[in-house]
Symmetry: D2
Subunit: 294 residues, 4 copies
């Protein structure tokens, strides 16, 4: 039995939910989970539905038939098979904790993604990546070769069919062109509680300001550095007894957790861009379960 999730955005209007729910019922599907959000500020409607095709409807047929429902409401919509994993390219520089964390989560089936490539501007993690039977690409970036380097990255994205790039502590700034081209398809982890401490050395900035909590922020990448729509944030308490190098260590767990939760939400189609903000719906039942023990 096909299990799928349907995401819809359109201008808010009476009758949307009925139109969608009718279609789902008429096609023999049962809604097992749903969430909606009406943004009173901009009149935009967001919905995510999990359903099961109890009488054998295929995703293709469902998708096709939905066009007639969508048209009068000007809906943007997507049907996603719940058993499909999302292809992801991970990019990393020298801090490897997020990479290590994601490799483990993917290995045990805790995230509905397939890592189709790891790209780094350093060689440090070649061995660990290769040991996971994942292609590793070292693409050095200099002032002079940036366009070529990005072209090579985009080649890999296209060849692998990756739908998402995860910047897992990748320390090179992407060009505006690439950010725009991949809008909503690049997730970054920044090691501060944005909008505090943008740019370089956020832990050092936090130390110097004397904050009592440090944080991490996962966001979509836009041309404005550290300004993209925020998906997830979290914090950890520190005291005067922790130095900036302690922050690096304590922040590691927060960063890895925040990034993993952001990817979980994105890969389960729970995140919607809403201008410079995001709508993030709760996880569906069973979606945290992992397939293996370790």
């Amino acid at each position: 039995m096909t299990k799928f999730c349907l995401t819809v955005t359109c201008p808010s209007k009476r009758g949307i939910v009925a139109a969608i729910a009718n279609y789902i019922a008429e096609t023999g599907c049962n809604i097992t989970d749903s969430a909606q959000f009406d943004d009173a500020d901009n009149g935009q409607f967001f919905m995510r539905i999990s359903a099961e095709a109890e009488t054998g409807a295929t995703l293709e047929a469902l998708r096709e038939g939905f066009a007639a429902v969508a048209q009068p409401f000007a809906m943007n919509y997507e049907f996603h098979d719940q058993d499909t994993t999302m292809k992801v390219v991970i990019m990393v520089s020298r801090f490897g904790h997020c990479l290590n964390d994601l490799l483990y989560r993917v290995r045990i089936g805790a995230l509905p993604i397939e890592i189709v490539a790891v790209i780094s501007n350093h060689m440090d993690y070649q061995k660990v990546v290769v040991n996971h039977d994942i292609p590793f690409h070292c693409i050095k970036v200099t002032k002079d070769n940036k366009p070529q380097a990005e072209a090579r990255i985009m080649e890999i994205v296209e060849e692998t069919g990756a739908e998402l790039i995860v910047l897992a502590r990748y320390m090179q700034i992407l060009s505006d062109a690439m950010c725009q081209k991949m809008s909503g398809r690049i997730i970054n982890i920044h090691h501060s509680f944005l909008p505090s401490f943008k740019g370089a050395n956020p832990y050092k900035q936090a130390y110097e300001r004397g904050v009592k909590l440090i944080g991490a922020t996962s966001h979509y990448v836009t041309a404005d550095l550290d300004e993209g729509p925020i998906i997830e944030q979290d914090i950890v308490r520190i005291t005067q007894s922790q130095s900036a190098s302690d922050y690096v260590s304590l922040g590691r767990d927060v960063e890895a957790g925040v990034l993993a939760r952001a990817i979980h939400a994105h890969a389960h189609h729970r995140v919607f861009m809403n201008g410079n903000k995001t709508v993030v719906f709760p996880a569906s039942p069973g979606s945290y379960s992992s397939k293996r023990m370790g």
Copy 2:
């Protein structure tokens, strides 16, 4: 324009959401928020919808017309006017922090409740209650007069039309008869992270066990002491440097917060009993807003 929320429970079945959404649309209402839960264990379906009657439908008419929708699905349902406050009786013994907290929240309009009476087995809080223009009843409870005392309590509940009793650190155990009669209508705050440390002196028990976090639990009251369906819980970190009397103080804020959140959820019709558990849906947009500044 009438704003209302509709709650529905019934056996899970294809077409429920469509039937509900159609009715809402046909009656000229717009769904502004919705949440659902299908319990795979017992096949029970739970839904809560917030909607606005954009074309003038009255709640009475909506309620009446819905019977035909509900019947084939064997739905239990309720329509609640969002502008109506729930009448609540608060019961308290000698620890007054939850009472004080609730008085403040109600005063500033942060909870959709009206405190129609405060009942205590002590006189300590008569003055503070009366200063809030709320009737105060001192009902002493002894081994001998328990039935009479409870009869008097129930009289007050009926006279005031209270839909909910909140045990805000009320230290007398209610009779099985009263618990059953008021099933799902009495909320208690227990000062431990249940199911740990049931019964008397939970902070002392926690201190002796040497836990590193202490907690509070808000639950519906059933005949089994401290065993009712849990609505909300939270914790606070402690160290060896805190004594059991420190716990009492640190726990105070957690207790007050947990109880207030449980009442917020219940009074906004976000909580459903589900056997010995609860379903608690997220807060609707704007429902945390308060009317006054202080």
Copy 3:
């Protein structure tokens, strides 16, 4: 038996702890709690000791005799009687939750402070303050009368012997002169996770930025608005379903808790200014206990 706490700051140097501990022992006192911090960045040493004068030494004698210990190390030091409450002036504008929270905590003996006056630029809270038998002063502030208004505030501070001013959501900016005069003696609560969202309307700023956590920050007031040394911070999670007016309500509990913890730390002499940062030592055993139940 006199219980006291001793705070010491001086340049870090071998033998400080021994010198202090010897003095304490020689004068017949027993150390029941201690904490120290060596700031490797600036070579500054901070210590706080709780002790009991087991053989009858008076605080006056201890203080006097300590001069000889302090001199060779260039120590700044203070002896504080643990039974003395700190006199505090609270200032508030129109948001009353922090005021209400502090009035309750002081009433039950949960904070070692005495509120000697409440000053407001509005009349809203006169009645509630007077009902607590605390003098209330309404001092309007306009562009023209600011120097006179501050002079009147300082008069009250001096007349009451207040050691601390708490800005409990007081919305007027204090003059540089007053900030400097009262350096380290004014604590503010800002309703954001500083350094994010300085200045006006931080919740609106947070809403527009789309953060997933909102926070509050308690700090000493300096001439640079919202830039003073941070004492305590905390956060609460929000989603797209909360509006800026929901933030105001959800933030209220965080603000009140953060401010109360900052005052607890300050009034127990656990906070040290360290340039633009603070050193905050853990609470001593028993220091959270309160005297009354409600």
Copy 4:
């Protein structure tokens, strides 16, 4: 320059701190961090001091000379070189997340331990352990061979000089004899917020009880199952939408974090057994820093 930490426990008495601090100063050492706790219930004193031997004193000499200080106070004490790593044996069954987490932390130098062996009753993690150049031992445990299996485990502990056994989701119950022999030297992670949900299947128990937070507890192992002194606990929020298998996944991060923090505390000599409780002092400055980036 030798950096060391000194831990002391003895009956509480005036002059202890002075005696210790004098010795430290006289031997040319500078105290950089200290914490103490007086247990008012049992009159026991606990202290941990970090210091630097600025004038060349060796740890051996310091240890020897301290005997004269310790004797009149009946002190138990230990001097630990801060650059020494603690030898640890990790035991694991089929859930590998804590093992994976610890391997990573040790690899980047975030914990002051050396994993000298991994013992499992299954073969699942042989490859990953061997790839870290750590000896892997598969020791099957049956009803019949338990004494022999434990004898083999103890042999490995003795051969490797391990000071600590970490049960990283090891699902066999150790014999009373082994628990007693290794008292204070075996740390377990239990996947519930103890004392709730002892024994088997705690997540299933939690699911059936309908709690709103699930937790993990790290504790020293004693003959009473899940009753040993608690070192560290933490929780994560769940809702009705999470099943028991979701708990397993969500709990994984909490378990790994709690266990790592407990080991950090133990290996830095910050944990003291105090009857059935523990004293856990804060981390010293810099002690969270790790040596490598990934």
